[in-house]
Every structure is written in C-alpha cells, then in structure tokens.
C-alpha cells in the first residue's frame, strides 16, 4: 500500500497529507490515537516544508513491516536550502509562562509523536522520514 502526493503551497494543504495518513492508517488497522499522532506529525512536517522548503513538497506514505512490526512510513520532501538537523535541539517548555519560544516546535513534536524519525538534509533537499507502528511496542 503506497501513496505519493505532490502538494503545492496552498492554505491548509497540510490537511491533505493528514487525510492520507488517516486513510492509510485506518486501512492498516491502526488505533485512532496512533493515526492522530501521525497526522499531527505530518502536519508539522508539511508546515516546516512550506516555511523553509521554498515551494512545493512531496509526501510519500507506505505500509511497512520491517522487523515483523506493521507500521506506516511517511516521508516529506522539500527542495529548500536545507539545514543541519543536529543543530536543532529539542524544545522544552519554559519554566515561566511567557518566557519560552513561540515558534520552532515542529521538529520536537514530530520526534515526540512518532516512533522513529530520520532527517536527511542538504542544500536543495530535505527529507523527513517518519515511522509510526500500527500498535504499541511489546
């Protein structure tokens, strides 16, 4: 099972990717809470691609059974300037209300909501590969 979406920059286009996650996740029998977590993650990945990618993006989704565990693999690719993922530390809530950063939570949310995340980036191409297992781990 596989789907490839070529998405332009348009208002709420990230919801197209979220809808695809919902459809494929449902077909895989993923519990609703896991589908929703993957949906929020793909929304954040698409928003990052829109903000930093400089144009359209490609979203690929496919079922996966590596290691005997069923899951959904989601890739979001853009063709922007790229970045160094290791230079983006996880964000933490501010100790005092109003003192923390307003923006820049996307990667933190993606990493927290998905089971595996790999980011490959260079000038002209950034690929965020995310995996959500169909069920909780043993």
């Amino acid at each position: 099972m596989e789907a490839v979406l070529h998405l332009p920059v348009a208002p709420n286009v990230e919801l197209v990717a979220a809808k695809a996650v919902e459809t494929l996740g449902g077909a895989l029998g993923m519990p609703r809470s896991r589908v929703e977590a993957a949906s929020v993650a793909v929304v954040e990945a698409c928003l990052n691609a829109i903000e930093h990618g400089g144009g359209s993006m490609v979203v690929r989704l496919r079922s996966d059974n590596a290691g005997g565990r069923a899951g959904l693999v989601i890739e979001v690719e853009d063709h922007g300037r790229g970045f160094a993922p290791e230079d983006v530390p996880p964000r933490r809530p501010a100790p005092k209300l109003g003192s923390g950063p307003r923006r820049g939570w996307g990667l933190t949310l993606i990493r927290e909501l998905m089971d595996e995340v790999q980011i490959t980036s260079r000038p002209g191409m950034t690929l965020v590969r995310m995996l959500k297992y169909a069920e909780n781990g043993p």
Binding site: N12, A18, E22, A37, A94, L97, R103, G106, L109
Partner: protein
Amino acid sequence: MNDERIRLSQELLDQGLGLIAAAGYINNEGGQAIADAAADLMSQGCSTLLIDLEGTRIINSIGVSILLEIMEKLLEEKNGRLAFCNLTPTIAKTFEIMGLVQYAAVFPDRTTARATLEAGGGA
C-alpha cells in the same frame, strides 16, 4: 478528518466562567478565532475560561502557541485561569510537550470541568 474551518460557540456562565466550544482544525486561523472569542468573554467579565475541544482532532504548533497567549492574557489581565476538556490523547500530549498543562487545568469532560470550576477548584 474534521473540517478545515473552525466552528465556535461561546457562553458566559455563572461566577465569571466562560465557555468556548471549538470544533475543527486549530491552526493560526482557528487559534485566532478562539483568541477573539476569549477576548470577547473577558470583556464581559470572564476570569476563568474553559475550552471544550470535543470536536477537535487535529491541531498544529502555531495554533497551540496562540492558546498559550490566551492563557498569558487571562493571567495578566484578570489574574484568571484557563482549563480544557475533552482532549484527544494526541492533543493532550501536544499540550504537555509545549507546556500548556503546566499552567492549565485539564478535565476529561465538560460536566466534570464545570462542576470543579464553578466550585472554585481545578487550579
């Protein structure tokens, strides 16, 4: 998937308790619509705000940032407090990651939330 456009209802209840029910995608537009409703309720005397997200299943970080701003405004201008109910597990986790639950009360449903907040609890 819920509709793109957010749907809101708002009501000022007893004892300065305001209620906003939000259904739909909480992005920058959805978050701003909630912020506008919150400001309207605050101008009518609301100091405790309950946001019911029963009809909301997807959010983004920009929308959550706007909810944080509502909380700051409520605290600064009214010495008030913010509460949520009917959160999906993913939205609850997102709020936890971004720090909302450090400052807001979270209830499983509206009935429990109202009973607690109207009794003066849930801080």
